[in-house]
């Protein structure tokens, strides 16, 4: 699966970022830093989400502002 596309599946799993506590003290890390990663690799990863991130640019058209939004 590519990061260029958002998933549209149903939710799964047993919790969320707003309902689960932080890892308890002394627990093994769930991530591991790769010290060999380069700036180019990071920029490539960010480029891969460019089209998804663009959706959040938040432009509002004049037509949308002037339209009746409910009767």
């Amino acid at each position: 699966m590519s990061n260029a596309e958002a998933p549209h599946g149903k939710s799964g799993g047993e919790g969320s970022l707003w309902t689960t506590p932080a890892p308890s003290a002394g627990a093994a890390s769930v991530v591991k830093v790769d010290q060999s990663v380069s700036a180019t690799q990071v920029r490539t990863a960010v480029d891969a989400v460019k089209s998804r991130a663009t959706a959040f640019k938040g432009k509002v058209s004049d037509a949308a502002l002037r339209a009746i939004v409910g009767r």
């Binding site: 707003w18 308890s24 769930v30 991530v31 920029r43």
Partner: protein, 534 residues
């Protein structure tokens, strides 16, 4: 001369002939409210025959008092309970008998104000939420507040958010949606909620509209924004990012969830599939989605949101709507003036550029045993094109900006943590609530870390804004990193105050990103003071 006369409080069995709701079943809203109350286990209705409602009085003075119909200015208020109540029990509760009072208050389901307007009788209504089963993914209803009623000295409380039917005289659906929005708990401390008549009047100030004020024929986004500003709020307005103003699911659900989690209800404007007419509703809650990340993937956690709870003046309060995704291939672009082919459910001047969001009313599994028609059966799907929310006046940063930052920073972190999948989610929160409630919950198992983390926020970080933007990252449902942003600045100057790492490797990952010198390139700038919350 006719004047109002004293009348006794009366009790009736829920759904019986003398329950006023029974005579209102020809309205879709009446059917919905009966279904909803039946699911809550309604058993008894207490009828207050004379109740002066602030909103109705405002509508009355703005419109109905000059009608030749001779409408009254007094309403009925109907209180519903989940236990059988007779006059003796009620009188004991009113006399402060502890046992009777506790029973009645515990069984209170909420109230409906019945306006003396035959065509649009449903006034301000607040009903309790459906009971929440134990779940790791609860309903998020942060905008809800507690409403207190007083009946002969008996205080009754219900938590919810006010809904009412549009009367088409003083308020259209957009007016009602905006009115609900301003009832949010987030605004308890500093604002007076305007009435529907005041919303309409503000929206028709000079230069804003050429349409007559009353009867209200609908409002534009510009008018809604003017009404919000006039009431002392900062508007957030989000247009769908796809062609035609449609929303993709990732942006729609993430934006909606972020705003509601922040305590801000959201007006959703769009069109109805049935006849392509404009409509506006107010989202007041959603069901928390779960993380479900494939390796290497950056997930917007709230994009998984499946259900939102909507106050729809055509239906009722807290109606459950499923967020559906319509494949763009299923739609043929047609002229807005040509008849829609059978295979086309909604008409567009131009074809959408991607799968888009539609909202369908879907009631939860029926809990009652009555034989009632499904009030959502013929309710058309809605195609959202605009989201509008009111924030505190000093909040200037849109959720779009936080999602943009979260997307870029999350994508940058993934290679640094060895290609592990990450999820991200955002909200706005008061500094005091973040330090007290959120850190108290998230670090409940780490008391040795909680105190130093809270102190670091006060002693190591430069002065922060009253409202914070929190961009959270995690894996396997577990929060690993919060980046805390200022909400009071403009987008080009936006800066993070600090970040809290809940995992030592995540702290090191941010250090690694800084060392690589890429933060500025990806639009994340400096991340502020690092706090070790592990």
């Amino acid at each position: 001369v006719t004047v109002h006369l004293a009348a006794p409080l009366t009790l009736a069995e829920f759904g019986a002939g003398d329950d006023p709701l029974t005579s209102l079943q020809h309205f879709p809203q009446g059917q919905y409210l009966k279904w909803y109350l039946a699911d809550l286990g309604a058993t008894t209705v207490l009828i207050e025959p004379n109740y002066f409602d602030r909103d109705y009085l405002s509508e009355f003075s703005a419109f109905y008092c000059t009608s030749s119909a001779g409408y009254k200015n007094v309403c009925q208020r109907l209180h519903y309970f989940s236990i059988a109540i007779d006059r003796a029990l009620l009188e004991r509760a009113i006399a402060d008998d502890d046992e009777a009072r506790t029973r009645i208050r515990g069984a209170y389901l909420g109230f409906i104000v019945r306006r003396p307007i035959p065509g649009t009788p449903f006034g301000r209504t607040v009903l309790r939420w459906y009971p929440e089963p134990p779940t790791a993914l609860p309903r998020v209803t942060n905008p809800a507040r507690v409403y207190t009623c007083n009946v002969a000295g008996l205080r009754l409380e219900v938590e919810g958010l006010a809904w009412q039917q549009q009367d088409q005289g003083v308020g259209a659906c957009a007016t009602i949606a905006l009115w609900t929005m301003l009832h949010s708990s987030a605004f308890d401390d500093r604002h007076v909620v305007p009435t529907t008549a005041e919303v309409t009047q503000t929206a028709h100030k000079a230069g804003l509209s050429e349409a007559p004020m009353f009867p209200s024929m609908g409002l534009t986004a510009v008018q809604l924004i003017a009404a919000l500003r006039d009431s002392g709020f900062a508007p957030f307005i989000l247009e769908g990012e796809l062609r035609g103003g449609l929303f993709g699911k990732e942006r729609f659900s993430s934006s909606l969830a972020s705003l509601i989690r922040s305590g801000y209800p959201v007006v959703i404007a769009g069109s109805l599939e049935s006849d392509d007419s404009g409509h506006a509703v107010c989202a007041v809650g959603f069901r928390q989605a779960a993380s479900n990340i494939p390796p290497g993937f950056l997930e917007m956690e709230d994009a998984n949101t499946e259900f939102v709870y909507v106050h729809d003046d055509n239906l009722g309060p807290a109606a459950r709507f499923r967020v559906e995704v319509v494949p763009s291939e299923s739609v043929v672009a047609t002229s807005a003036t040509s008849p829609a082919p059978d295979s086309v459910t909604v008409r567009f001047d131009v074809a959408p550029t991607g799968p888009y969001v539609a909202l369908r009313a879907v009631p939860p599994p029926q809990k009652h045993s009555l034989s009632l028609p499904d009030p959502t059966a013929n309710h058309p799907r809605m195609i959202p094109t605009l989201l509008l929310a009111a924030a505190h006046q000093e909040v200037r940063t849109s959720p779009d900006r936080f999602h943009f930052l979260g997307m870029n920073l999350g994508a940058a972190l993934i290679p640094v943590i060895g290609g592990r999948g990450l999820s991200t989610s955002t909200r706005m929160i008061r500094l005091a609530d973040y330090a007290h409630k959120e850190l108290g919950r998230i670090l409940a198992a780490n008391p040795a870390v909680l105190g130093p983390t809270r102190l670091a926020l006060w002693e190591s970080v430069p002065p922060m804004s009253l409202h914070l933007g929190v961009v959270r990252f995690g894996a396997e449902n577990t929060p690993l990193l919060d980046v805390i942003y200022d909400t009071t600045d403009s987008a080009p100057n936006l800066r993070a105050f600090c970040y809290l790492a809940y995992d030592s490797e995540m702290f090191d990952a941010v250090d690694k990103l800084r060392a690589l010198g890429v933060l500025e390139d990806i639009g994340a700038r400096d991340l502020g003071v690092g706090i070790k919350a592990f």
